[in-house]
Each structure stands twice: as C-alpha cells, then as structure tokens.
C-alpha cells in the first residue's frame, strides 16, 4: 500500500470505529432511559408493564409495614390524588420517612405491585425530588413552597 491508500485505510478505520461506538452507545442509551411516572399515571395504566421505570411521591403516613423476620418493607406513595404500593427489600436511605418525597426505581409485577430495586431520598432533608414536586403540582395539590425551595449545600 502506498501512503495515500494507507491514510485512507486509517481514516476509514477511525470513522468505522466511531460509527460502531455511536450505534452501540445509542442502543445502550435507549435501553437505559428511565421514564418517571406519578402514581396517577401508573393507576391510569400509562406506565410500561415490562420495562423498568421510576415512580415517586410522598410516603403516606402510617403506610410503612415491615416484615417481622426479613428486610422486606412495604409502603405507599402518593401524589395526593392517587397512591400506589411499593415493595422493597433492603436498607432504606437515611432520609426516608413518612411524609417525605422519595423516588423509587423498579418495575411492575404481574399482580400490579411495584417492586423497587432502589429507593432514593436525597441528601438534604428539606429537599423535594423535582419529579415529585412536579407530580404534586400536576395533581393540583402541591405543598406550598416545595418547588421554590433551593437545596442547601447538598450539591456535591
């Protein structure tokens, strides 16, 4: 091969490599997009039945139930219009408590129960997950001031 055709091969190889990376990347991206649904949307059947998604709301007072001999825990979240039950096994974050806004990631089971793989409550106790704030707003029953609140120092 002379210099010109070698350079062509090199450029082709680079373009090909980047193209492969892009295709694989976009596929991985598509598969890992997690959409957020409020309990109202889930009740209305808008959430995917097979794919993982995120759901969030306020933990309903008095709804937290623990299994006596395992780490299984069950609680309800609400957007103040509808509520739904979430099941989780493991240790909940420090900021989890009744009345607190949380986001759970998981999927719906055949019996309609939402089983979470991950439950998030952010670093700051005054913080409202933005999705939850928006969901509360959408249901028309927002906690006053929730969306205007700026988190303090929890930004790392």
């Amino acid at each position: 091969m002379n210099r010109r055709s070698r350079r062509k091969v090199l450029i082709f190889a680079i373009v090909f490599g980047v193209a492969v990376a892009t295709v694989l990347g976009l596929t991985a991206f598509e598969e890992n997009l997690l959409y957020f649904y409020s309990p109202t949307q889930v009740k209305a059947g808008e959430a995917p039945a097979t794919h993982s998604f995120r759901v969030g709301g306020l933990v309903v007072d008095g709804s937290v139930k623990r299994a006596p001999d395992s780490l299984k825990i069950q609680f309800d979240v609400t957007d103040n219009a509808e509520s739904m039950t979430i099941e989780y096994t493991g240790i909940l974050p420090d900021l989890f408590r009744e009345g607190q806004g949380i986001v759970a990631m998981g999927s719906l089971q055949a019996d309609g129960k939402f089983v979470a793989q991950e439950v998030l409550a952010k670093h700051d106790e005054n913080y409202m997950p933005p999705e939850v704030a928006a969901a509360l707003e959408a249901s028309g029953k927002s906690v006053k001031g929730a969306t205007e609140h700026k988190p303090q120092g929890a930004a790392y």
Partner: protein
Amino acid sequence: MIPELGHFALIIAFAVAIVQSIVPIIGAARNQAALVSLARPAALTQLLFVGLSYAALTHAFIVHDFSVLYVSQHSNLVQPLMYRISGVWGSHEGSLLLWSLILSLWTVAVAVYSRNLPEILMARVLAVMGMISTGFIAFMLFTSNPFERIFPVPLDGTELNPLLQDPGLAIHPPMLYMGYVGFSVAFAFAVAALLGGKLDATWARWSRPWTTIAWSFLTIGIALGSWWAYNELGWGGWWFWDPVENASFMPWLVGTALIHSLASTEKRGVFKSWTVLLAILAFSLSLLGTFIVRSGVLVSVHAFATDPARGVFILAFLVVVVGGSLALYAWRSATVVSYGRFQWFSRETALLLNNIIFLTAATAVLVGTMYPLVVDAFGVGKISVGRPYFDTMFALVAIPLLLLLGFGPAVRWKGDSWQRIAKMTSIFFVVSLVAGLLIPFLVEEKLNLSTGLGLAGALWVALTTLKDLLSRLTHSLKLPLSYMGMIMAHFGVAVFVAGVTVTMTYSEEKDLRMEPGSSYNISGYEFRFQGTRKVQGPNYIADEGVIEIWSDGEKSGELLPQKRTYSGKSNPMTDASIDKTFTRDLYAALGEELESGAWSMRVYYKPLIRWIWLGCILMTVGGVLAVSDRRYRQSVKQTSAKKVPVTAGV
C-alpha cells in the same frame, strides 16, 4: 462592618478585573508598551482584593456572624472550626468566591512564573483571564452576593449539611476548582495565540506544564470526591454516574485528550488547531460543570424560571465565552498551518487515536448527562439515564484505549514499522491475555470474559509500561522527569483498571437483619454483631454498632459503624465503618433499629477497591513529575535555539 469591607473589596476587584481585561488587549493591538505592562500589576491587585473579600467571608464564618445570610445558612454555633472554614465553599455563593480566588491565584502564578514569555502574549493571556474573572465577579455581585445581610439576625445558624462535614470533602472542592480553573490558563493561552495569530510549537510548550498541573489537580479532586462518597454516603460504591460527578469527569476526559495532543503539538508541530480547539472545549466543559453543579439546574430546570437572573446570566456567560472563543477559532484557525508530516504508523497517529477515544467517552458522558435536562427543559417528560448505559459505554471505550496504551508510547515519532512494535510487544500481549483470562477461571471455575479482558488490559498496560521503562534504563540511568511522569501515570491506569475490574466482579454485599450475638459469613470473614451503644460526638449523638471480624478462628478486627443525629437536624446520618487493607476492604453500615436491639445493616467485602484511588494517586503524581521536568524551567531563548531531541519522551 467586615462583611461590608469584603463586599467593597469585591467591587474593587471587579473594577480591576475590567481594567485587566481591556487595557492590555488595546495595548497589544496598538503596540503600546505602557498599556501592555499594566497586565501584571492589575493581576496582582485583583488577587489582593479578591483575597481580602474571601478573608472577610471566612472571618464572618469563624466569628459566627449570623447577620450574613450565607453564614447563617451554612454554619451554626457548635460547628467545629475546620468546617466553618470549609463552610465558605459549602454552597453556591461562597463556592463562586472560591472559584474567583483560585482564578486570581492562577493568573498571578502565570504572571510570576512565565517571566520569559513575550510581553505582548503575556498581556493577552492575562487579559483573557481577566475577562473570565470579570464574568464571575459580576455573577456574584449582581445575582449571588455572599455578603448579603439578614434582618432580624438569627441567634443561631442552620448547620452545614452534615454530609459535607468530612475532611475528604472539605478539600475536595478546592482541588476540583484548582483543576477546573487551571484549564482557564490553557484556554487563555489558546485565545491569546489566536488573537495574535501566532500559533507555533512554543505556544504548546508554554501551555503544557500549566495544563498538566491543572489536570493533576482535577484528577486528585475527582478521586477525593469518589473517596468521600465511598466513606460517607454509606452505599459502598465509588462512582455513581451522578450528574454532579459527570460534570467534573467531562473536563477531565477532554483535559486528558488535551495533554496528549499538546505533546504532539509541542514535539512535532502537528494538530495545532485541534489542540487549540481542545483547550477551548476543556475550559468550556469546566464552566458548564461549575454551573451545572452550582446553579440548581439539576434540581430542576425550572429553578431557572424561579430565579431568572441567575439562569439568564449563566446562559449569557456561557454563550459569550464558548461562542466567542469558537467564533475566534473559526475565524483564525484557517491561517494555522501544521508543518509536521508523519506516516500512518507513528506516535502522532497513536496520540490522535487517544484523542478520538477520549472525546468519544466525553461525548457519551455529555449525552447521558445533558439529555435528561434538555428533555425536561422542553417539557417533554421526566427521564433519567440509567447507570448501565455509562458502564457499557466505558467498557466499550476501555478496550481500544488499553490496547493502544500498551504500544503507543513505544512507537516512534514521524513513523515506525509496525513489525518492530509487534515483535517487541506480542509476547506481553499473549501473556497478559492468557493470564487475564485464567485468573477469573481459577477463581470461579468458569470463563468470565469481561473480567478476564479487564485484567488482561491491566496486565498488558502494566507489563508494556515496565518494559518500556526497563529498556530505557538500559540506555541511560538518568531519565527525564517528564518521561518518568508518563510512566507513572500509565502505570496508574493499569492499577486503576485492575482495581475497578476486581471490585466490580468480586465484591460481595449483603443487607442483613442482625440481632446482638448473631453473625454472618461473607467471603471467609465472619461478622459478629455485638450490639450497639450510645456515643456522644462534638455536635452529634450516635448509636454505635460493635461488629467483630473473625477469620480463621481469630479475631482480626472490629467495625464501629455509627448512626448519627446532628444537633438541629431531625434525620439521622449513616457513618460507615471500614476495615481497610491493601487487598480488600470490609465495610459495615447501620440501617435502622428494628426491635429489641436488632438492626438492619449492610455489610460488604470489597477486594482491591483501594487500587482505584491508588491508581488515581499515581496518575496525579505522574502529572506533578512531568511538570517538574527541568526543560520547562529553561528560558525560552535557550530552548527555542536548541532543538529538543525527538526521543526525549512525551
């Protein structure tokens, strides 16, 4: 009174910054020495006033001046002194002030250490840095004043988020900012060179040490953040692909591409305009990172709507800096000619491939981080990008990168024969591939391709790097520091990859319900839970769990995880306890008290996790070594007169 002085000092600094950004540029354009020579004193004066302003805010924190809103929001009477000092950068306003202070420090460092730079170029560099400073100080003065007073004065303040009360985190932001802001030097050199229309190899020589040292700070800053998350958050992970982490990782990726591209430009005069573009990109991403983290946009893009002044200012500033420099680039870069010629198989090509790989990685992170924000901004929906996306992308990028890293540094500039390289490295390739695939096979008794490839990659990089070092040592025992730095950093990559691979595959973690007296076995270690006791800290009370570690019938250690309740906060905080050794960590974190002394808790076994940070430390030290090379301290006249031998390392 002192806060007002601080505010006033900031206003003076603002005026000085404006002078610093305009006058030297005019002087350079008209060739007026008096105006040009104003740059240095202006930079020093600015540092003085920003420093005074910063000292005033720190003073307010130390003496508990709760009449300052920012102080009252981020400190209280029982907060230890160390965290009152670090509380200055605990949130938006103060961290901007720290940013400005560090920018002034870098500016003065350039003014002091680059005495042999041509006056005109120096004036332009300092002026560009002055412009950035003007933007930041204006942002503070007009939208985020840290000295704002509050009336009535509260008796006590709100405590700094207890999560941030950790030595690792206290120094994490300053390190990160040293890196972010350090890229402004490379940026300023690039813009100054574009303004002057003179982009030669000496330009690369001048900006190289600055870029490398900034990169070192950024590396250690990111590592500290990861270390903190591991120690403090109680989740046992070391990287979460959180937007905040990604914001610091993007400039790192582009910065890494930049230090490699600068090597080509300095040594061979190639890829000049590409290098300039990378310098602009690295700093733009630093700015983007600062603002993503600090503006509240992550909390909600609608934070922009509730506080339009900040949002509009940020967007305008980004548009001016990024758009302006790119426009200048588009206008001027056409005149830049790269004179170096090279064959397809050469060091130049290897470094070009390095750049492509790093930019691909940076793009992947950028897409995953920004896409949810854009979707949200357009009101289309609320989405997030799952961690597997990032993991997949980085596994994809790592394969070609590690492969390249094994032989790239051995390839000669201008052109080399691939047969020579193949002959030199094929043995290592075979050895590392076989050994890498064999190790997981011996451990699990089945083939584990991804772990095997990860280990093979680490071995391949480690072996070829050592081989390169040894063959150099046979020629001469005195190797240049810049070369030693490269070896150190590349070896750090191998250590890092080994740590990541092993930790990701062989960690064991378990959420448990433990009663006092019960025990649990994990990877040959027995965790015996003895119960909890009450502990009083300086500003918290805690339940402390006592867990004995037994292995081979002997007690080998004790873990004391805590659940703390800080004064003034209603929610508890987890403080994990970790038994650390070079080869593995044992980790325990308390969940919550269930009943009758039983606790939920999380225990981990994490093999080689220390290697992840060790790798980062090696990379950082590598950067520092490279900068200490004496050729950067030789005067410009000397070095430009004598041609540097091409073989003197990267």
